[in-house]
C-alpha cells in the first residue's frame, strides 16, 4: 500500500492521483475497475494481439536485417534500413507517385462528394433512388472495379471508341500501359469508387445543419451558391476533416489498383510504383528483406501522420463560423 502511494506521488503529481481513501472505498473502487477491465478485456486482447503487437514488432524489425525462415535470426543494423531508404531512388519515385496521386485525388474526391451530397439533400425528386445508385460503387470490391476499368480504358474499350468517334482522339490511347497515363487512369478509377462513400458521410453531416440558417439566408437574398459556400461548407468542417483524413490515408495506402494494373511490378517504367507496392515487393517478392520493408512501412506511417495533421490544421484555420 505504501509503495503504491509512493509510485503515485512520484509518477505525476498533477495527474490527480486519487487521494488515499478508506479501505472500504478503495475495495469498492477496485472491484469496479476490475469489472470495467473484464468487460474491456476481449477488445483489449484483440487490439493488443492484432494491432499493437504487430506495430511494435515491425518497428523492431525495421532496425534489423531479419530472416524469418526456419529459425528466425535477427541482425541489429541500427538505422541502416532507413539510410538505405533515403538513398533508394525507387523509394523516391514511389513517394513522388504517391504524392502526385494524393494531391490530385483528395481535393477532387472531396469536392465532388460534397457537391453531390448537397444536390441529393436539396429535395430533388427520387433522391433516395439516386442515393442508392450512387452508393453502389462503394459496395463493389475494388479489385473487381479495377478489372472493369481496365476493360473500359483498354485499347479497344468503350472509352477509346467514344473518344475516337467523337473526334477527340485521332488514334486510341493505351491508357493502362502508357507511362504517362497509367497513374491517371488509377486516379479516375479511385475518385469514382470512393466519392459515394464520402458522399454518404456528407449526407449524414448535412442532416445536422438547422434549416433555419438556410431560411434566414434566403430572406437576406442569398442564392444557392452563396448558401453552399457560406452555410453548408463551414458547418461541415468537422465532417470535411474526417473525409480529408480518410482520403489521405486511403491515397497513401494505394495498393490493389496499382498491383493489378502493373502485375505487381510498378511498371510501366515505375509509373504505378506506389509506396505500398514497394513495401509489398520487399516483404514478399524478395526473400530476406522484411527488415527493409518494415522500415519503409514505418516511414509511410510517419508520412501519413504528418500529412494528415497538416491537412487538419489547414482546414481548421480556414473555417470561421
Amino acid at each position: 500500500m505504501g509503495t503504491q502511494l509512493e509510485i503515485n506521488r512520484r509518477t505525476d503529481a498533477a495527474s490527480q492521483a486519487p487521494p488515499p481513501k478508506k479501505k472500504k472505498g478503495s475495495e469498492r473502487n477496485r472491484r469496479e475497475s476490475m469489472q470495467g477491465i473484464t468487460f474491456m478485456l476481449p477488445t483489449l486482447i484483440i487490439l493488443v494481439t492484432f494491432t499493437l503487437l504487430p506495430i511494435a514488432y515491425s518497428l523492431f524489425l525495421s532496425f534489423t536485417r531479419v530472416n524469418l525462415f526456419g529459425g528466425i535470426d535477427f541482425q541489429w543494423v541500427g538505422f541502416d534500413n532507413y539510410v538505405n531508404a533515403w538513398n533508394d531512388d525507387r523509394v523516391w519515385t514511389a513517394l513522388k507517385n504517391t504524392f502526385r496521386y494524393a494531391v490530385f485525388v483528395v481535393p477532387i474526391q472531396t469536392a465532388i462528394a460534397l457537391l453531390m451530397a448537397a444536390v441529393l439533400n436539396s429535395g430533388i425528386r427520387f433522391q433516395n433512388t439516386f442515393r442508392t445508385i450512387y452508393f453502389l460503387p462503394t459496395l463493389t470490391s475494388s479489385s473487381a472495379l479495377t478489372m472493369i476499368f481496365m476493360f473500359l480504358f483498354s485499347l479497344n474499350g468503350p472509352i477509346n471508341n467514344v473518344l475516337v468517334s467523337l473526334g477527340f482522339l485521332e488514334a486510341p490511347v493505351n491508357f493502362i500501359n502508357e507511362t504517362d497515363f497509367a497513374l491517371t487512369t488509377i486516379m479516375v478509377m479511385n475518385i469514382w469508387s470512393t466519392v459515394p462513400f464520402f458522399m454518404t458521410i456528407y449526407l449524414a453531416g448535412l442532416q445536422d445543419i438547422p434549416s433555419s440558417l438556410y431560411e434566414a439566408a434566403s430572406l437576406d437574398g442569398a442564392n444557392a451558391w452563396q448558401k453552399l459556400m457560406k452555410i453548408t461548407v463551414p458547418n461541415l468542417t468537422p465532417v470535411t476533416n474526417y473525409v480529408l483524413l480518410m482520403g489521405i490515408i486511403g491515397c497513401f495506402q494505394l495498393f490493389d489498383q496499382a498491383y493489378i494494373i502493373s502485375g505487381g511490378t510498378g511498371g510501366p517504367n515505375n509509373a504505378t510504383l506506389t509506396f505500398s507496392l514497394i513495401i509489398y515487393q520487399y516483404a514478399f517478392k524478395t526473400i530476406g528483406t522484411m527488415g527493409y520493408a518494415s522500415a519503409l512501412a514505418i516511414i509511410l506511417t510517419v508520412i501519413i501522420f504528418a500529412v494528415s495533421m497538416l491537412a487538419r490544421k489547414l482546414n481548421k484555420e480556414e473555417s470561421n463560423y
Binding site: N174, T286, I287, Y292
Partner: protein, 425 residues
C-alpha cells in the same frame, strides 16, 4: 545417373549419415525401409490451381498414389502462390510437399526451407538420367538437389497458317535463323491486312534471358550481380528494339491484350514467340484460328529457348518426410508422370514418357519437346527477382525510344546492383 558417379557419392552419403547420426541425426534422410509402414499416413501437398484439365489430372494422380501406397494426400491450393507459400513457410504451416517454381528455387533453398533430396534419391535408387537435363539442373544449387521437375514448358514460334498463306508465303519461308527474321517480318508486313502486326512477344527477362546470354555473357555474375549492358548482350538485343520501332514486333499490351496468346488468338498478329501453354489456350478459346508451331529461330547458329519448370520439393520442416518423398518419387515415376502429363496436356519431364506419348511426332508440341534438350532454364541464383524487376521496368523505355538500349540497360544494371548490394549481401 551412371555408376561411376553414384559409387563415390554413396560412400560420401553413407559417411555423412554416420556423421549426422552421431550429431543427433537431424539431417538424416528418413526413407522408409519398408514402404508399407507408411500406410495410413497423411501428407499435405501444396499446389496452385491450374487449368481445369490440370486440376482433374492432379486428382487422378493423387488417387493413383493413394491406391499404390496407402498414403493419403490433402491438397492445399494457393491462389497467390509466392506470397502465401512464404507466409506458410515462415509460420511453420507449409505443406509437406509443394510446387517450387525454378525461378524461386535458389532463394528458397538458400533459406534452408527445402530439404536436399540427394540422399533420398540415393536410397531409393531413383534413376535421374531419364529427366531432361536443363529441367533437373534448374533445381540444383551448390551440388545439392532440391526437387524433381513435375513437367516443363519451353518457348516456340507460333504462326497463323491462314495469314501466312494469304500473304503469299508458306510455313517453310519463316526463317530458322534469328538474323533473317526481321527481313522476313518486313516482307510480311507489306502483305498483311491493316491492323495486323507481323509478330508479337512479351518483352520481359523471362523470355529474353537466352537471347542476352547468346553471346556468352551470363546475366548474373558469380557474386549475384546483374550484368545486362555488355556489348555482346546489347548487340543480341538491339535487333528486337529495331524491329519494335519499325512496328515489326509489338507487345500484347500495345495491342490492348493481357498476353500474347490472346493477341494471337484475336488474329492481331501473324507470328508469336510463346510457351507451349498457349496451344491449349488458343484451341479452347479461339477454335477457328489455325496455327502451326516451329522451334525458336537460332541465334548465331545455336538453338535457344527458355525453359520454365516446376518441381515437387520436400519441406525441410516436414514431419512426414518419408511419406512426402514417396509422393515425389511416385509423381515423377513413369506411372505418375504419365497420368499427369497425359491428363493435363503438359510436357513430361521424363524423356521416356515423352517418347511413349509420341510427343516428338505431335504436330504442335514437337518443337517444344525438342527445345527441352537445349533450352535455358528460367533460373539464375537468388538475385534474379531483382534483376528481372529492373529489366522489365526499363526495357519498355528502350523499346519506345525514350532511352537508347545501352542507357536503359546500364540504368537497369545499376539500380539492380545497388539493390542487390544493400539488400542481399
Amino acid at each position: 545417373m551412371n555408376k561411376k558417379v553414384s559409387k563415390p557419392l554413396s560412400v560420401f552419403v553413407l559417411s555423412g549419415l554416420v556423421f549426422t547420426a552421431a550429431c543427433g541425426g537431424e539431417e538424416e534422410a528418413q526413407v522408409a525401409s519398408d514402404p508399407s509402414e507408411l500406410e495410413g499416413k497423411e501428407i499435405t501437398v501444396g499446389t496452385w490451381k491450374g487449368t481445369d484439365a490440370e486440376v482433374k489430372a492432379f486428382d487422378e494422380l493423387l488417387a493413383a498414389f493413394t491406391d499404390e501406397t496407402g498414403i493419403k494426400v490433402k491438397k492445399k491450393v494457393y491462389n497467390d502462390y509466392q506470397t502465401q507459400l512464404q507466409t506458410d513457410l515462415v509460420g511453420g504451416t507449409a505443406p509437406d510437399v509443394f510446387y517450387v517454381d525454378a525461378f524461386l528455387a535458389p532463394e528458397l533453398s538458400k533459406q534452408g526451407v527445402l530439404e536436399p533430396i540427394d540422399q533420398y534419391v540415393e536410397q531409393t535408387e531413383k534413376d535421374l538420367g531419364d529427366f531432361y537435363e536443363p529441367a533437373i539442373n534448374a533445381f540444383k544449387s551448390e551440388d545439392q538437389l532440391f526437387g524433381l521437375p513435375k513437367d516443363y514448358s519451353t518457348l516456340g514460334l507460333y504462326y497463323n497458317k491462314k495469314m501466312i498463306e494469304d500473304a503469299g508465303f508458306t510455313a517453310d519461308d519463316i526463317p530458322t535463323e534469328m538474323e533473317d527474321l526481321p527481313g522476313f517480318l518486313k516482307e510480311l508486313q507489306g502483305e498483311l491486312p491493316s491492323g495486323v502486326t507481323p509478330a508479337i512477344t512479351s518483352s520481359e527477362l523471362a523470355r529474353h534471358m537466352f537471347v542476352l546470354q547468346s553471346g556468352g555473357t551470363d546475366i548474373v555474375d558469380g557474386d549475384g550481380k546483374a550484368v545486362l549492358s555488355q556489348q555482346d548482350q546489347l548487340a543480341a538485343l538491339q535487333p528486337l528494339v529495331d524491329a519494335y520501332q519499325d512496328k515489326l514486333v509489338q507487345r500484347p499490351a500495345d495491342l490492348g491484350q493481357g498476353w500474347a496468346g490472346d493477341s494471337f488468338g484475336a488474329e492481331k498478329a501473324a507470328i508469336m514467340i510463346e510457351g507451349n501453354w498457349a496451344i491449349s489456350h488458343i484451341q479452347q478459346n479461339f477454335p477457328d484460328v489455325e496455327m502451326g508451331t516451329k522451334e525458336v529461330p537460332t541465334i548465331g547458329g545455336d538453338s535457344g529457348s527458355m525453359m520454365f519448370t516446376v518441381s515437387y520439393s520436400l519441406n525441410s520442416d516436414s514431419e512426414e518426410k518419408a511419406a512426402g518423398w514417396e509422393f515425389i518419387d511416385y509423381a515423377t515415376s513413369k506411372d505418375g508422370m504419365k497420368i499427369w502429363s497425359e491428363g493435363a496436356g503438359v510436357l513430361p519431364s521424363l524423356k521416356s514418357i515423352a517418347e511413349e506419348l509420341n510427343l516428338q511426332d505431335d504436330e504442335l508440341k514437337a518443337p517444344f519437346v525438342a527445345a527441352g534438350a537445349y533450352a535455358t532454364p528460367w533460373q539464375k541464383g537468388d538475385s534474379l527477382s531483382i534483376v528481372a524487376r529492373e529489366y522489365n521496368n526499363l526495357l519498355p523505355a528502350a523499346l519506345k525510344g525514350d532511352m537508347t538500349l545501352e542507357e536503359a540497360m546500364k540504368k537497369a544494371e545499376e539500380t539492380a546492383n545497388k539493390d542487390i548490394e544493400t539488400q542481399l549481401q
